[in-house]
């Protein structure tokens, strides 16, 4: 953690100097006033204001360094490119050679990495952050195959007039299934079971 101690005629002046040295803005730091300024009489007994300005660690950077460290120790060489869409949402694209290992069967490993990365980010953040990890466009490909699966299972539920259970999936994958089947008036979808084994069911509309 980087910090500087600065003095100035006023508290504001001392803070301004510190921010300049840290190349930071007011919202990126915490300020500790060590000494209030004293004006003195005719310049005698005057004391400057002293402040300690501490650069807050960026939770997103911290989380990405954590991810990078884990992936490296898994023995995979990747490049991580993070794009911050807005205050809450960050997308991380992983590129490299051994991405299949990081994705895992049905994205299990990628989802585990994403879960832990979010945990670390939110431990250090004052507002909720959502980091999505992607590799080789996996999320888009998975969305497409989930939509095909959803349509096929909906068809099966109608044909057999029986409720169909899908495999357990994380929340955002279940949402893809619910969303794609929402216009279908022959069936209704629901989520059942407890996290992390919650799954989608498709029932024929009677």
């Amino acid at each position: 953690m980087r910090e500087v101690i600065k003095n100035g005629k006023s508290i504001d002046e001392a803070i301004e100097q510190a921010l300049e040295e840290l190349h930071a803005t007011l919202d990126q730091v915490t300020i500790d006033v060590l000494e209030e300024p004293k004006r003195g009489l005719l310049g005698i007994g005057a004391k400057p204001a002293i402040v300690k300005v501490i650069l807050k660690e960026n939770p997103i950077e911290k989380a990405i360094n954590y991810l990078r460290d884990i992936v490296e120790k898994m023995g995979v060489i990747v490049e991580i490119k993070a794009t911050q869409h807005d205050e809450r949402n960050v997308e991380c694209q992983l590129t490299g050679d051994d991405l299949a290992l990081l994705i895992g069967k049905r994205g299990h490993t990628l989802n585990a990495l994403q879960y832990l990365t979010n945990l670390v980010a939110n431990k250090h953040s004052d507002h909720k952050l959502k980091i999505v990890l992607d590799a080789e466009n996996y999320r888009a490909r998975r969305k497409e195959s989930l939509e095909i699966l959803a349509e096929r299972m909906a068809h099966k539920a109608v044909r057999n007039r029986r409720k169909v259970k899908l495999d357990p999936m994380p929340a955002y994958e279940r949402k893809i299934v619910h969303t794609v089947l929402q216009p279908n008036r022959h069936i209704k979808t629901a989520s059942e079971g407890e996290e992390p084994h919650r799954y989608v069911t498709i029932s024929p509309e009677s």
Binding site: K62, Y66, D69, I70, K73, M74, G75, V76, D98, L101, L102, G104, H108, T109, N111, A112, L113, Y115, L116, L119, V120, K123, E194, E195, P196
Partner: protein, 76 residues
Amino acid sequence: MDELIAAIVKPLVNFPEDIQVSSENSEDGITYILTVNKEDMGKVIGKKGRIAGAIRTIVHAAGRAQHQDVQLSIRE
């Protein structure tokens, strides 16, 4: 593998200095034993074992890359 497990767990806990990783060989492969401070158990297991599940998924993947069958056991 010890380093990987420590790297995953350290930023999650309050007492990183209490983390220990050891290993035992058995017929089914290698079992890594992660020991954390008693107060940190919840932080490495999580609600319904979700954090422990994520840690195991990553450790299994790393093991598979080295053609090893690895298990992870968590103790206080």
